[in-house]
Symmetry: C2
Subunit: 232 residues, 2 copies
Amino acid sequence: MNPAHTTAAPAAVVLLSGGLDSATVLALAREQGLRCYALSLDYGQRHRAELDAARRVAAALGAAGHEIVRLDLSRFGGSALTDHALDVPTDGGHDGIPITYVPARNTVMLSLALSWAEVLGAQHLFYGANAVDYSGYPDCRPEYVAAFERMANLATKAAIEGRPIRVQAPIIALRKAEIIRTGLRLGVDYAMTVSCYQADSQGRACGRCDACRIRAQGFTEAGVPDPTPYQP
Amino acid sequence: MNPAHTTAAPAAVVLLSGGLDSATVLALAREQGLRCYALSLDYGQRHRAELDAARRVAAALGAAGHEIVRLDLSRFGGSALTDHALDVPTDGGHDGIPITYVPARNTVMLSLALSWAEVLGAQHLFYGANAVDYSGYPDCRPEYVAAFERMANLATKAAIEGRPIRVQAPIIALRKAEIIRTGLRLGVDYAMTVSCYQADSQGRACGRCDACRIRAQGFTEAGVPDPTPYQP
């Protein structure tokens, strides 16, 4: 039994992609003594292995609940992560906002987390945004997180009735190596996580895409072995 | 061919529930000369006739596109509109926030509209919130709309690149009778719309729930015949 899973513990909804960052965030939320409900989005992403990873991570880190909400954003088009006509970039050298950006995806996910939080009576949302490695993504910046929190506190019955929502983005200012060291301290098994944009059905990483590059460099900088399973 | 549907016209995403309010908002958006993309949410609502109404209204008002996004919010529970164990209120006399409130539903819908808007290059979101008849709903207040707009302008690639998002809630301060008069002036056929929380499969209203009461009173106050089909 997860020690945080008692009726007395305040609840949190934690966005869990199945990647390295959100697994670390779940571990951090649990360290705060919160009862953690993990939320994943099945949004038609090409890298389906991510969702299998999310299931493993939620179980391993003792989430009190885990929901995978199916929502087909690929019908809107416009991202290499959902649009099979676009190639995933592997050059690492692009400027500006990567084409792997999914329009407003994080806003949609945080809104779903807000909906679930209101039903659960949870006042904490945890969001694994990172402004260092993903500096090109507008919704990974602290000012965005603050604006979402402010909106949430005007949106909900709970907030109006005196139970404000707090959006925590605890790894937003950390480098990948620092995130990895934090997770290892908290017992995260990163072999369970999938960061690769084009992992195979067994969750093995390509080793070439931008997500793989950033991740591998993080393990190198942290000075720990990289447990990522790679494709042969 | 809809005269607003040219490549030159700026695009708008309009939330369309199939009810009286959002049909009027679609007509208002079109009056501004915008190319209108209607977005409906199939969120497991009990009143399925709403979605049929949305299809009819989108076609009748010349929407350039209409998407119905399926998203099962009922798995989160907590509202009489999605939870079949709760009764829809018919007494009209409750205080505070009605139990027909669906947690954060409007925030989820606006977030989806934002996602589609970004793909379409649309800078306008239209939202049929009304602060007069639905004063108990936190996300029907002007300060909420302003906070969502501010968040949206920090969230998206489009906003960062100099194409800000504007969230318009053109009926937020109107009484039901004023909304009806506006729609009639713009050619809305309200017989097509469904407001009832428990309409039957043919879209006929119960005449007893709060939504029916507010709607019928609106037609009376506007001094026009009520075209609503009622259940026998």
